[in-house]
Amino acid sequence: MPACLQRSAFPLALLALGLAALGSLAYGDLALSPARIWAGLLHRDDIAATVLWHIRLPRLCVAALIGAGLSAGGLMMQAYFRNSLASPGLLGVSAGGAAGAVIAIGAGWATASIIAVPLSAIVGAFLATAAVLIFARRGASTERLLLAGIALNALLGAVVSYVLSNFTLSYERNAQIIFWMLGGLEDRSWEHVLTAAPIVVLAALIVPLGRPMDLLSLGEREAQSLGVDVRRLRRSLLALTTLLAALATAVAGTVGFVGLIVPHILRLMFGAEHRRLVPLALVCGPTFVIVCDLIGRFAGGLRLGIVTSFIGGPFFLWLLRRKS
């Protein structure tokens, strides 16, 4: 990639995000021109204002937040495990969040308090992370890492099935659970935006970790010998990844492969330096999810989780082939 393009990567990424956001606000049953979007945002056009403020804007915000959370989460997990195939989805951390959320809905806590779902998603995700750590040590081979992920994903899938089959659920609760399993952005409200909003704070905490992540991703002892407080860094990375995956799952269900695809494409284009990759992932992750959501809407209402899996599945297999 030419040097001038390398240097302007970040402004270009912001531009792409802006265009994707504009497309997401414009496209729908009621197509809106940029002028009408502007009028709608300022409440000068009642119909546009209703569509934007009640439907498209919250949806856009949730898409951007989970995109940032999942791709930064993937980047951190890859540095932590020193394996470019690690991500919250493949290792079962997202599934832990989903299982937590499903239990909260199934048990009826979700109706009692709006923080019940994100809170139990966080608990579920942390339990899953603990399990991953037991089975796959840092620097573990790809095989071991993926096998641990398969086992954990299967186990957590069984938890979800158990909740679905054993709770005497109302039709509405069952539908909510199915929604979580599919992953989607339909009917997202400002409540969901608020739930996912801590992702912004967490993202700000990740940026200064970029440089030590560079060193850690080439070896723990080496990093420590060069002056990194490895223990503290590892704890921070793990806590941040888990929180991000849990929050993303709590508001949009299981959306797979984002944490794998975005860091990989960025690495291919801009090299391995986390100093640069972290800010880029925080901008390009949202762009990717917004575009995937748009593709789903173009295709007549495909859910987000289905679109990312359709793209991510083959991409992952390609990576696996390239790696061996």
């Binding site: 440089r211 991703s217 080439l218 070896g219 002892r221 420590q224 060069l226 407080d229 391995a272 330096e273």
Partner: protein, 237 residues
């Protein structure tokens, strides 16, 4: 003052009660058969592995030195380098300046010293074993750390690069740095200032090579008899 002090170091099943002190400005060879604890000892000396006993750098107890400052005081190189990600050679070498706010000082000189300038833009995960080892050595050099701990740096290198690494080590010790390197090449060990002999996790001997590497010791520790056949010797042109 001692550059490195180890006092009653033990690591269960690997090292038993090792005490030694190294003055600044010496080139030290750490020798011993496979599994004798060389790598473990270097990691303990670098503050990278917990042990009982006491480690001190420049007479300062290690546990009183903050992590960032440790990055300026000692550099450690593993026996084998595995690079998962495609950082460029130059950027990996520049990581040696992490403890100095990444000022890039000395990076070009270190690349040149290890013959890496032509490879500077290559991704490290596409290098051969010997090239990877030289990248790690260059990264250790740019830290400018007065204590250098190298775990078998010569093993994957071709003869000329191995000699150059020894010349670099010699240059460092002339500037007052202390270099400890583990090695299996007893002939090379013979040319160093000091040798440390480990056997089954115990300290067998420390001292000048001519005094320590006696035929009796070599036979009992390594199970080899010293030959006096001239054979080949190699040196830089």
């Amino acid at each position: 003052m001692n550059a490195l002090t180890l006092d009653a170091i033990s690591v269960p099943d690997r090292l038993h009660d090792i005490s030694l002190a190294l003055p600044p400005g010496v080139l030290v060879g750490l020798i011993g058969p496979n599994g004798s604890g060389k790598s473990t000892l270097l990691q303990v000396a670098g503050g990278l592995l917990a042990s009982s006993g006491r480690v001190a750098w420049n007479d300062r107890p290690l546990n009183s030195i903050p992590f960032l400052e440790r990055g300026r005081l000692a550099a450690w190189i593993p026996q084998e380098a595995h690079f998962e990600f495609g950082f460029s050679v130059r950027s990996v070498v520049a990581q040696g300046r992490y403890a100095y706010q990444d000022d890039e000082y000395g990076v070009d000189a270190a690349l040149a010293a290890l013959d890496l300038a032509p490879l500077a833009d290559r991704p490290v995960n596409r290098l051969s074993g010997g090239e990877r080892q030289r990248v790690l050595l260059a990264r250790a050099l740019v830290t400018g750390a007065p204590l250098q701990l190298w775990d078998e740096p010569l093993a994957p290198l071709d003869p000329r690069h191995a000699l150059e690494v020894l010349r670099n080590a010699r240059r460092l010790t002339r500037d007052g740095h202390t270099v400890v390197l583990s090695l299996h090449d007893l002939r090379a060990a013979h040319s160093l200032d000091t040798v440390i002999v480990l056997d089954h996790g115990r300290l067998r001997a420390v001292g000048k090579p001519a005094e320590v590497l006696t035929p009796d010791l070599l036979l009992s520790v390594f199970g080899v008899r010293v030959g006096r056949e001239p054979g080949f010797t190699f040196e830089l042109p």
